[in-house]
Amino acid sequence: MASKPRTLYEKIWDAHVVERRDDDTCLIYIDRHLVHEVTSPQAFEALRLAGRTVRRPDLTLAVPDHNLPTTARRDAAGLPIPIADLESAQQLAALTRNAPEFGIRLIGDADAEQGIVHVVGPEQGFSLPGATIVCGDSHTACHGGLGALAFGIGTSEVEHVLATQTLLLKQSKAMEVRVEGELGPGVSAKDVVLHITGVLRASGGTGYVIEYTGSAIRDLSVEGRLTISNMAIEHGARAGLIAPDEVTFAYVKGRPYAPKGAEWDAAVTWWRTLATDPGASYDKVVVIDAADIAPSVTWGTSPEDVLPITGFVPAPESFADPSKQDAARKSLAYMGLMAGQKLTDIEVQNVFIGSCTNSRIEDLRAAAAVLKGRTKAANVRWAIAVPGSGLVKRQAEAEGLDQIFLAAGFEWREPGCSACLAMNPDKVPAGERCASTSNRNFVGRQGPGARTHLLSPAMAAAAAVTGRLADVRELS
């Protein structure tokens, strides 16, 4: 009997069902658990109080990233430089204490492999196609770029996974977002995912797992695919997926935790079976023409507030929905913008290149290509480049990219989440604008009163050298 055609999502889901309850809730096995310092202390504490242990420490990897300062972490003598913020220091210390106590591997703050969990997982080959991957962080969807079912969880779920290596879940609906055609000049994966968020709106993916398909997605490198999947949550989807293919396998092969030898061959054989079957159906399909995607920026305080860089700040009355009109009015007031303003007339004082969305080597190369031979504009007060991991930093330095950033007036920092959410000292001052390669432009996200414009690494570099939001196509 021929089996029913299934989607990539259904195949990974089915392969991880430990048991199905009568009400269709499933106990799902978790293959990989990434832990960072912010969402784990209360989970470890709960285990301790209940006298529980970690079921599979070998499937768990702890990396500090959110609170770490991106300035030097060791002094000339190799001794740790104390962290000025005592609460940050306390939270980092809790992870350093909890990981060994529960038998979990920890990549420490000064290890070369340290970085943002969502950069470290794929880079180390810890995140694999076809795996279920969780982390107490909503951008865990990122790993879906490898064809893994990856999603963010809360601290109670972190505790649940630590104790049982499973989660109780109901299967989500499946959505296909198909992007067909070739991306135009200056259009990157970031522009694609910003555009998708504009189309679906911030809640369009709620209740769905999204599979990104189509030639424009297939043509992306793995790093570009990670950028797309990373922002699935910004259009409401808990997980985003991209079918693993030869490009994926080439990326994974040889990484420290990736399978080797006969296991590698068996893994690739299985991974090849995961792609959505012809005839499988999705609960919803959205088709986007790649030709419609321009280099994009956000103007408001929701990632759905996205426009081509050639556009104008919209008038609140232009939205049909009265509550969106109200939200747009508040956004414009917060952002200090006027309806009808040309986007390329908006001046920026800060530029942030980094975050789990855009801090990989290709992101840094794209920014450096624009910065080469140029310097930041006089009105740009602060520009920082924060590599996603120590290994990305090392690679960038080997390629001389650090020198390009420094010559352009950027600061070249140690890896971490940094100004994406400003839990460490990297903050954008109130009332100032930041051209940011991160994933959220929420009120206060980059610091109280900070005004964020989301864009790609190349567009951030263009903003740095022109001192305003700029069309990168006019610079190259």
């Binding site: 392969a15 430990v18 048991e19 309850r21 009400d23 809730t25 106990l27 096995y29 293959d31 969402t39 209360q42 529980r52 070998d58 768990t60 990897l61 609170n67 913020d85 609460e87 940050s88 939270q91 694999l128 076809g130 107490g136 962080d137 909503s138 865990t140 963010g152 969880i153 809360g154 109670s156 779920e157 649940h160 049982t164 290596q165 499973t166 109780l168 989500s172 911030a202 809640s203 709620t206 949550i233 409401g236 935790y257 990736a258 399978p259 296991e263 068996a266 893994a267 929701s302 759905e304 509550s323 969106k324 939200a327 959410l421 839990m423 929420f442 009120v443 206060g444 996200r445 109280p448």
Partner: protein
């Protein structure tokens, strides 16, 4: 977790759409290593306005929050649920919730009630002056004015809330099924069954 059967009292007529978790609890409050005391930081930016709803005489300590579409979008921080609890909120009514937020809320004994926008509009009106009553057993929201709105809730979540079940304890009792899965996985996908460094 304490069992939850009903939530009754004043409901904060907040109504905003796309309320993200950075609005519910800004990142600088996430540095805590406990679950307590986050009510102080809840809706911090909005509460900087002395005339804000949350601290007004009528709504301070109200157990219900009424919000717009996509409540709790953004980050996975469970601190958002802890902050609401610390503020005294044990139920949120909205047309839709982010998936992660509603899961976090449920695991902390906060009831998320999904109702259509028309019902939200009516409840926003009632909440200005009168209390709202939510009964989990009958899955209804009622007002002193004969309004009666039925809502859907996942049967498993409902049972957990009504009985105050410890989900980790529940799953630990399925240990033999989990071990059986692990044994199968070792045979079928051995590269996933271990997370050791491969040399």
């Amino acid at each position: 977790m304490e069992p939850l059967r009903e939530v009754a009292g004043r409901a904060i007529p907040f109504g905003a759409k796309n309320v993200d978790t950075d609005v519910i609890i800004p990142a600088h409050w996430l540095k805590t290593i406990t679950r307590d005391g986050l009510g102080q930081g809840a809706f911090e930016t909005l509460r900087a306005d002395p005339d804000n709803l949350f601290d007004s005489a009528n709504f301070k300590g109200a157990p219900i929050l009424i919000a717009g579409d996509n409540f709790g979008c953004g980050s996975s921080r469970e601190h958002a649920a802890w902050a609401l609890l610390d503020l005294g909120i044990t139920a949120v009514i909205a047309p839709s919730f982010s998936d992660i937020f509603s899961s976090n809320a449920f695991k902390n004994g906060i009831l998320t009630v999904v109702l259509p926008q028309s019902a939200i509009d009516r409840l926003m009106e009632v909440a200005q002056t009168d209390p709202v009553h939510i009964d989990l057993g009958s899955q209804t929201v009622t007002t002193p004015f004969q309004d009666r709105f039925e809502f859907e809730i996942d049967a498993f979540r409902k049972a957990c809330l009504l009985e105050g079940l410890d989900e980790v304890g529940l799953t630990l009792s399925r240990d033999s099924a989990i071990s059986a899965y692990e044994n199968r996985s070792r045979g079928q996908t051995p590269w996933l069954a271990t997370g050791e460094l491969v040399s």
